[in-house]
Symmetry: D2
Subunit: 134 residues, 4 copies
């Protein structure tokens, strides 16, 4: 049982991601969390495409951010993405983003995704492929 | 005392804001909330530029989203942005985004901003202009 | 025959669209041009959805920008989108974006779109609905 | 004399970069070209920060794209960024983006940047640091 699995990936702050104060615009952390989920999915075979090939979508129903310290243009970041196991038919991740340049914790957050079939109907019971994956 | 003030604004889902499922990509709601904050600020004299002219920044420290139902390309949305009053030196907003086309509640959320001076130092006591504004 | 038809629409520079120099990041003009095309399409019945309902896609094959003067956060812009008529099976637009605040010409450009059917095959002969539209 | 210098870098199409047709939205190629410029700048000491430390900005005055074939979500791309030497005080790049998954040429384009000093005045004569760099 994968109770907590963590992926670690690195990325660089793009010029187009910082705002007029020279720091990453807060909304862009949604992309960084998605980069984290994708890196997790690629490492542990739970990417969007893996899920899609099993004929499911996994839209987000909840997403939150706590901003601790800023990232600046050119900063290198480390994204830690941790899977939190639940009985229910949902995918729960926790995120920590660190500024590699300074070592500081930049942003933390969580996301919850649910399962929908290709007709976009909510699935209440965890799909077989997901139970097996766990 | 402005305990709860609400601004209502409308917007249209852009083609570039939807994902491969044809619905608004979850991260774009950070822009819609910002559109709501800006419309609120323009109506009640608390925009980024108003704040900046008083020599403060107001970075977000917390932001969260609950996704209830999707918005599609071309949908018209109504953004309701409500100011929640606090004693502390922070700006707290609640958001509700409705799909005008269907009437459905699409997304809710909250944000908390703090005050920093132009040297990017955190301000603990609510700035005079903000106390007067309230 | 609609040799040159022009739509005029207005928009406001969002905070998330400016870069660390406080001016609109150059890539965001692709969105403004798209806003122009959509406003044109809504006025003259040639929107993405109109085209899609006729079972065609119209992907861009060419897009260019000339940047004349910057737009700043909070600036109001006027987008002029002009349809240029051709015999061939393509959609050609010219764009002019003006800074409403200063009157200055900010950016000009052009785009060319072609027709694809829903199987994503290129259509060489202008579709009937488009010929009728013209 | 660096008449033509080329950097090659690789990147992955993010989920948030594709549109409702499942292909990269055309405006996102401005980011990929910027990724190319930055990778070039990092390899050859001509990044935004290098330029900024010499007290110049280099805003784009011209940018164009030709779209040859689409990139899909999950595709790996190769970005080739080539510096084209000129006598004048400008920076001219040519770009080729290939789909690594299929080998196809996806998009080509060019950009021209000029020099401004920190007062945002146009510089007509190529700055010394740039002449030395060449």
């Amino acid at each position: 049982m994968k109770d907590t699995l963590t992926n670690i990936t690195e990325s660089l702050v793009r010029f187009s991601e910082v705002d007029s104060m020279g720091i990453v615009w807060h909304g862009n952390y949604a992309k960084y969390f998605e980069d984290g989920r994708e890196a997790f999915g690629n490492q542990f075979a739970l990417s969007y495409l893996d899920v899609y090939h099993n004929k499911f979508f996994t839209p987000l129903v909840k997403l939150d951010f706590e901003y601790k310290s800023p990232l600046n243009y050119g900063d290198k970041m480390r994204i830690e993405t941790t899977f939190i196991n639940h009985e229910a038919a949902k995918i729960h991740f926790r995120y920590k983003i660190f500024n590699q340049t300074t070592g500081a914790l930049a942003t933390t957050g969580e996301s919850i995704q649910v399962f929908m079939n290709l007709q976009k109907e909510l699935i209440i019971v965890a799909p077989e492929f997901f139970v097996e994956w766990k």
